[in-house]
């Protein structure tokens, strides 16, 4: 390695960071802040911020004469307090002075004594602590007096249980302290790593962007450059850390200047030094060593990843990735290795591996199941892996930095160019499809999730005493559907509006009578479908579960419940599902072809129910409704059909028998009419031709192939994964 050049690169990095005005500003502000915060009370008293000169007056109302003596003696141990006694509390918000507290003591059956602390506003923390101390002391003395125990005996009884924990076959000295050290060091390492990684990745990304790194790589090797970057960034963070520790130490010195007692100075050192055994010291040093080596190894990986990115923001994402790996490794080590773990050979081997050992070995040491060979082996592996990683990653680092990918474009003859352009346009179109569909699904699922989380407890508490649980959940369902589908529809419709996408208008408008016929036919088909599916198909597939069992509404329920049920099952689905799955979806997808729009919207409608039984029915109904919308261009028809279909199911739940019979008869009549018109449509040549032409679909595999590009859009991928997961879970739960 060319030392002089590496030094130059390191020096230049240092210069950039340490001479930076923001570095100075940050350190000055931090120093001043730490000084002030750690000595706040002393400084504020110096500047007379608190009313330190004023006497804090306390009066005690203790008519049963239980605690006055002890409370006052304890309180008067402090300066600036005055204690007196009253026999009656005549104070109100108007006449109570500032810095004035009334302590009321009343005897209590269970608690022995019940205290009330009354003041005008809040009480300063440190003063309140003294009040608590006095009241607690008084109660203890009450207890001691009543049962004839001395103060010392009481103190023993109140202190923590002292246990001598002995593990005969395991050498786990100071397990608790070691665990504490491990936790502390992990947190510190994570913080330090965050700083180092972010600086490192940003610097590399910036130098790559400005092409400065390209030039530098003509003067030094990739390994040297990588080393210099890592070294300088680690060093700067270390320097900053040392500075912070110095600020802390200075603040401690300052506080000892303020305090008369000199025992406060050694606060930082005394926390652990008083009880540190040799074993503990070794443990701490081991943990530090592992963490340092681990960070260096991770820096190499981080730098290589950052070199592959195209901007500083992307580099930030690589940092999150590396940090996340650290978190996972820590969590795994904590979960897998606990006092009950029997370390098998797999775990023993895994804990020696370079990236894992920094987490696993300390954890094993805590439970005393780590042999000296494991430590030796893992350290050797870790140390050796560093130059190995340098060598291995240097090449990727160099390629990432130089990134001559522009040359990957294929320079082709003109005919290829046409195809390339076409392919590019198709891909872009498909990505657009994926994006709009994916994002609308995410909005739908997202709003449902957020709203049900928030809604469940806000609505619940809001309407707690007004409506019953069933009513509240029904109201929530209605709002949920309306919001989620509504917002998703708004998004898609706004997008269509912006890009002027509408379902292609038919040249001939559909007459009113034809619309009526269509509605009746559709109703017939839909109900026939339901019967066919539920009687014939579903039982054989094991799909005969009733969704409506979820709602506990019957004819006996309140009017509001019944009304809400109708809304939940019929009104909102009819309105909003049609709005989204027909109007929004078909408007948007008709640019890809009417047949595609029909099938796709129906497919989506089926999938979103997230279970097979509803989904299949929804798909076929979606085809019918979609077809109607495409044919007539009138969304109100489909809304009506949907409403009537769902409405019948809702009515079946809430109407008393007699009414149900009447409704069923009406429905039957409607269906007969529908059936008649349906047959008529088939018989009549022109309409039959129309129907058959719709059914004839030329689906070639080649045209379907282009839809694979939909997955090139990441929003679509994410929403697809979410929907699949939720469907699997829902299906499982329903069975």
């Amino acid at each position: 390695m060319n030392n002089r050049k590496v030094k130059e690169i390191i020096k230049f990095s240092f210069y950039k960071d340490l001479q930076n005005k923001w570095f100075i500003i940050f350190n000055v502000i931090t120093l001043v802040s730490i000084l002030i915060l750690m000595n706040f009370t002393k400084i504020s008293s110096l500047l007379h911020f608190g009313n330190e000169d004023d006497i804090f007056e306390i009066v005690v109302l203790d008519n049963s004469n239980l605690i006055y003596g002890n409370v006052s003696s304890k309180l008067l141990e402090n300066e600036g307090f005055s204690v007196s006694r009253i026999t009656e509390n005549t104070y109100t918000a108007d006449n109570i002075p500032d810095d004035f507290v009334i302590i009321e003591a009343t005897p209590d059956e269970e608690e022995m004594i019940q205290f009330s602390v009354i003041s005008k506003e809040g009480i300063q923390g440190s003063k309140y602590e003294k009040l608590l101390e006095a009241m607690s002391y008084a109660r203890n003395m009450m207890f001691a007096d009543r049962y004839g125990i001395s103060e010392e005996e009481l103190a023993v009884f109140q202190s923590d249980l002292k246990i001598d924990r002995v593990m005969l076959s395991v050498d786990a000295e100071d397990s608790n302290s070691k665990e504490y050290v491990k936790l502390l060091s992990s947190a510190l390492t994570y913080l330090i790593a965050t700083l180092i990684f972010s600086k490192l990745s940003n610097e590399i990304a910036q130098e790559k962007q400005s092409k400065s790194s390209e030039y530098i790589l003509t003067t030094v090797s990739a390994k040297e450059y990588l080393f210099a970057k890592i070294f300088s960034n680690v060093a700067i963070v270390v320097i900053q850390g040392i500075l912070l520790m110095m600020y802390y130490y200075i603040a401690m010195l300052l506080s000892s200047v303020f305090t008369i007692a000199t025992t406060d100075i050694s606060l930082s050192a005394s926390v652990l030094s008083s009880a540190l055994s040799m074993d503990m010291v070794i443990y701490i040093l081991t943990v530090i060593l592992y963490n340092i080596l681990n960070i260096i190894l991770l820096c190499i990986i981080q730098a290589t990843l950052a070199a592959k990115t195209a901007s500083t923001s992307e580099a930030g994402n690589t940092m999150s990735l590396v940090l996340f790996i650290m978190v996972i490794a820590y969590v795994v080590s904590s979960t897998v290795i606990d006092p009950y773990t029997k370390v098998n050979s797999l775990l023993a081997i895994a804990s020696c591996l370079p990236l894992l050992s920094a987490f696993f070995i300390p954890a094993l040491m805590v439970i005393g199941q780590c042999s000296i060979w494991q430590i030796a082996l893992s350290l050797i592996l870790l140390i050796v892996s560093i130059p190995f990683a340098f060598h291995f990653c240097a090449k990727f680092f160099k390629n990432g930095i130089l990134d001559y990918t522009r040359l990957k474009k294929k320079r082709s003859a003109s005919e290829d160019k046409e195809k390339k352009l076409e392919k590019y346009l198709v891909k872009r179109k498909m990505k657009e499809l994926g994006f709009v569909v994916g994002l609308s699904i995410l909005i739908y699922v997202g709003v449902q999730t957020i709203f049900s989380l928030i809604g469940s407890f806000t609505l619940g508490t809001l309407f707690e005493n007004i409506y019953t649980e069933t009513e509240i959940s029904l109201i929530m369902q209605v709002l949920l559907q309306a919001l989620s589908l509504g917002l998703a529809s708004i998004f898609v419709l706004a997008y269509c509006n912006k890009h002027s996408l509408t379902v292609s208008r038919r040249t001939m408008t559909v007459s009113k009578s034809e619309k009526v016929k269509i509605v009746l036919i559709a109703l017939f088909l839909v109900f026939a479908l339901q019967i066919v599916l539920s009687i014939l198909l579903y039982p054989s597939l094991g799909l005969d579960y009733d969704i409506t069992d979820m709602f506990e509404v019957t004819s006996e329920s309140s009017l509001l419940s019944k009304l809400m049920l109708v809304f939940t099952l019929a009104v909102t689905p009819a309105l909003f599902e049609e709005l989204f799955f027909r109007k929004a979806m078909i408007n948007f997808t008709s640019q890809y072809g009417r047949k595609f729009a029909l099938v796709f919207s129906a497919l989506l409608f089926g999938i979103i129910h997230m279970n097979l039984s509803q989904g299949l029915f929804a798909f076929i109904m979606g085809l019918i409704l979609g077809g109607i919308y495409l044919y007539t261009g009138d969304i109100k028809l489909t809304m009506l059909i949907h409403f009537l279909n769902n409405g019948f199911a809702a009515l079946a739940m809430i109407l008393p028998e007699i009414w149900m019979v009447i409704v069923s008869i009406i429905l039957f009549a409607v269906l007969i009419a529908g059936f008649v018109f349906f047959i008529q449509a088939f018989v009549e040549k022109t309409s039959r031709a129309k129907i058959l032409s719709l059914c004839k679909t030329k689906v070639s595999l080649k045209s379907l192939e282009r839809y694979k590009y939909v997955f090139a859009d990441y929003t679509f991928d994410i929403s697809a994964i979410l929907v699949v997961l939720m469907s699997i879970l829902t299906e499982h739960l329903l069975r």
Partner: protein, 242 residues
Amino acid sequence: MLEFKNVTKQFETVTAVKNVSFTVNDGEVLGIVGRNGSGKSTIFRMILDLIEPTEGEITFNHNEITTSVLDRFGYLPEEGSLLNQYTVLDICEYYASLKLMPKSEILKSLKEWLAIFHMEDLLTMKVKKLSKGNRQKIQFIISVLHNPDFIILDEPFSGLDPVSVEELEKAILTLKSQGKTIIFSSHIMNHVENLCDKILLINRGEALLQGDLQEVIRNYKINGEPVHSLNDIFIDKVGEAL
């Protein structure tokens, strides 16, 4: 002497350089001309060991080109390499020290070069405040500051006004008279004609024409007629290859 022997560079889907060979003797100036994306920069990057050739060999004085050899090289990259938040002095010192130039000499040499380009007052100016032309000139200075023997300039004249172009041409000729070897690329033929001893015409990675400049112009005939400028040859040859 630089020898570029039968070098091919194949990327995943495209061949950037196809079996190109040339030699540059000490003290010569070679001009590489070609359309945008013809492979000029790739050739430079291979000389500088930034990219490895797929086939072929590149040697300098019959030796492999290592980092220590490159210490005697100067490079003006096509897209620049300046960092915005530093001053001209800082960045020149940094890059020159990476070429192992002693610190004491850097300032002296820098001042001389800035004087040649009449940019003395830019010494302490921050890079981000420089105009494009001035940045280019600073970039050039960086490439020659450490007194290299071999200088590679990738499109050195881009972004320069006519006065600056003349200054740069004069500088290059001065360097040539000092015995330096220079390769530069351009697609403005006037510069090439004024400065080069040899030329190499490249299109889509292939060497279409190369050799001594005067000979090439003398021997080239378009439809039996002699040509008068390199520009005509370029358009004819490259147009033909399309």
